[in-house]
Amino acid sequence: MGNRCAVIGVGQTRYQTKRRDVSIAGLVREAALRALEDAGLTFADIDAVVIGKAPDLFEGVMMPEAYLADALGARGKPMMRVHTAGSVGGSTALVGASLIQGGVHDRVLVVAFEKQSESNATWALSTHLPFSASLVVGAGGYFAPHIREYIRRTGAPEHVGALVAVKDRKNALLNPYAHLKIPGISLEMVQSTPMLWEPIRYLETCPSSDGACAMVLSSEKAVTGTPAWVHGTAMRSEPIFRAGRDTVNPRGGQDCAADVYRQAGITDPRRELDAAEVYVPFSWYEPMWLENLGFCAEGEGWKLTESGVTALGGDMPWNPSGGVLSSNPIGASGLIRFAEAALQVRGRAGEHQVPGARRALGHAYGGGAQFFAMWIVGSDRP
């Protein structure tokens, strides 16, 4: 795993439908300055910048590493862009961490963003090349059949998806940065919303958000303030069209989880982790990823959700921040998971703090559930 690496600063913007008051440059700078302030540093203390965003068509920004260098204080420093679809925020953190772990730099600023209001992600995901006849409409259209298959395999009752939608939105009420705030959200409210891509209902989907997230990563000797130590990092990918590929429980996710647990010395994530921030853009992905990430046996994920294990007061809270279901600046969504995991083990999560959290998982996935990025952070130096 290389040299020790720590998160010493976290910065987020308030996530909302439209940030009309700032440019993309202003948006990323807001998050970056907050992360630097949290670390007690300035741009002058940063050695390199790593930036991530969702696919180019999402905003028509092709080279953010060039466009945003000034805004991120990168003049004269290495700056690079990471690109792994929806998992990009997580991959961005891991590329930044690798620069510390490899001994290349002492302090790296990682930033990810999306300004969905400048464009339309569903359009960007539904461009159809000549000769093909793909009928997939947006992310929901792609993931709905796999959710249906999960429900068939496990016999999960219909209300489980809605339970996740309610739980994450209740958590969002405790997070000052969260986008969707739905006071009084209830099972009945979620179940009364229309099916968009059956079996996915409207309130079981993530919002479209503008926002940015940033972290300052540090080597052991350059740590300031309260560190969250990186205990393990892993990335995996797999081809989207592969015979025998299990789209409900992808091998890439299983292997990635096994790798990150091995590095962190974890054999039973359900018992040994205190919190998890997992990429759940459609509610049913909570039980699906509970199984994929080894928090329970296959077919048992929905039972953990149903019994309240993953609630903020449960014994294995998932997405105490409200998760992707409550805030979704796509390119940043993975980095937010990683950052929220760090906030938990630093004891800085405010009202959505899991009491005494010492080890937490940050997770992101992207593409057709084919890119995976994960880290485990802890309050103790590994």
Binding site: R20, G60, H128, L129, P130, F131, S132, A133, S134, L135, V136, V137, G138, G140, G141, A144, P145, H146, R148, E149, R152, R153, P194, M195, L196, W197, E198, I200, P239, F241, R242, A243, G244, R245, D246, V248
Partner: protein, 303 residues
């Protein structure tokens, strides 16, 4: 003359040429500056800047000072009312807002029109700037400002990339089959998996796929979505997009399912391609109208 109908007539009362108004030194200065394209306020003895100026401070009744202050020209909308149907005497002949605009540096607001184009563009707190009429047309009147207009906060940035897309050898071969009403797949030399559409390398093992396999146009729905959002490629809403595992293939294709109400589609349902008539076919997947149920008993869905 019929009883009960009142006797009426139009009558116009208008002083010929219009009344004059002697401005006095304060209002006169304001309008003179306006004619020069400048927005000015006057300071009161208490230090406030009044725009438009008044001769006497409404708070104290004392004359205002002779200190003039250039304000704005940008300002902030404090409140507004939308006029959907302007009257003939209104400053604009299309929908606009009457607004209280406080110029930067002023302590008061002036009433003027905001030409925002659309009520959705109006917002309390929005930033606006005066649009002066051209110099020779100014006459020292509040209408020397045509209207206030929103500051630029957003531009449109069209991006258009034009490609020539080559189907490539494998997809061309597949579409040649589709033009004849046949799905051509390929069997991996190494792992024997059958891929459709035809492709030349195996994503599982990296092996070469050399052997073509003609697959039947029947298969089983492995899973599906019922889409309630419209799509130009679907005939109606809701429509079903399904993964269909063709008989003999090892990977499903995503297709439209038709000929059956959406809510009767099942995992395991047996389906067959519905082809458009041969004379309408080309090198395109649109040769397949959709897949429709065969009526056979459902197949077992393996995972």
């Amino acid at each position: 003359m019929s009883a009960g109908v009142p006797l009426t007539a139009e009558h116009v009362l208008e002083f010929p040429g219009g009344y004059t108004r002697t401005t006095g030194p304060v209002i006169g200065r304001f309008l003179t500056e306006l004619r020069e394209g400048r927005l000015m306020g006057v300071r009161t003895a208490g230090g406030r800047v009044l725009v438009p100026p008044l001769e006497y401070d409404p708070e104290t009744g004392e004359p205002v000072t002779d200190e003039w202050v250039r304000v704005g020209p940008a300002g902030t909308v404090l409140t507004w009312a939308w006029v959907e149907s302007p009257r003939p005497s209104h400053p604009l002949d299309r929908p606009f807002a009457w607004a209280l605009v406080r110029p930067d540096g002023a302590d008061t607001a002036l009433v003027h029109a905001v030409d925002a184009g659309n009520v959705k563009s109006m917002r309390t707190g929005m930033r606006v700037r005066p649009d002066f009429v051209p110099g020779p047309e100014r006459r020292g009147h509040i209408r020397d400002i045509r209207a206030f207009v929103p500051e630029v906060t957003r531009i449109v940035s069209p991006i258009r990339t034009r490609y020539r897309v080559s189907a490539g050898k494998a997809l061309t071969r597949f579409l040649e089959g589709v033009a004849e009403g046949v799905f051509i797949g390929g069997r991996c030399d190494t792992c024997a998996k059958v891929y459709v559409p035809y492709r030349v390398s195996c994503p599982e093992c990296g092996g070469v796929i050399a052997e073509e396999v003609n697959l039947p146009d029947t298969g089983t729905i492995t899973t599906f979505a019922i889409n309630n959002l419209p799509d130009p490629r679907a005939p109606e809403v809701p429509f079903v997009s399904a993964y269909v595992l063709l008989d003999g293939a090892d990977i499903p294709m995503i297709t439209l399912v038709g000929g059956v109400p959406a809510h009767e589609v099942r995992q395991g349902m047996r389906v067959r391609a519905v082809w458009v008539p041969p004379e309408e076919r080309g090198m395109s997947m649109s040769n397949v109208k959709w897949f429709a149920p065969t009526g056979e008993p459902d197949a077992e869905v393996s995972r």
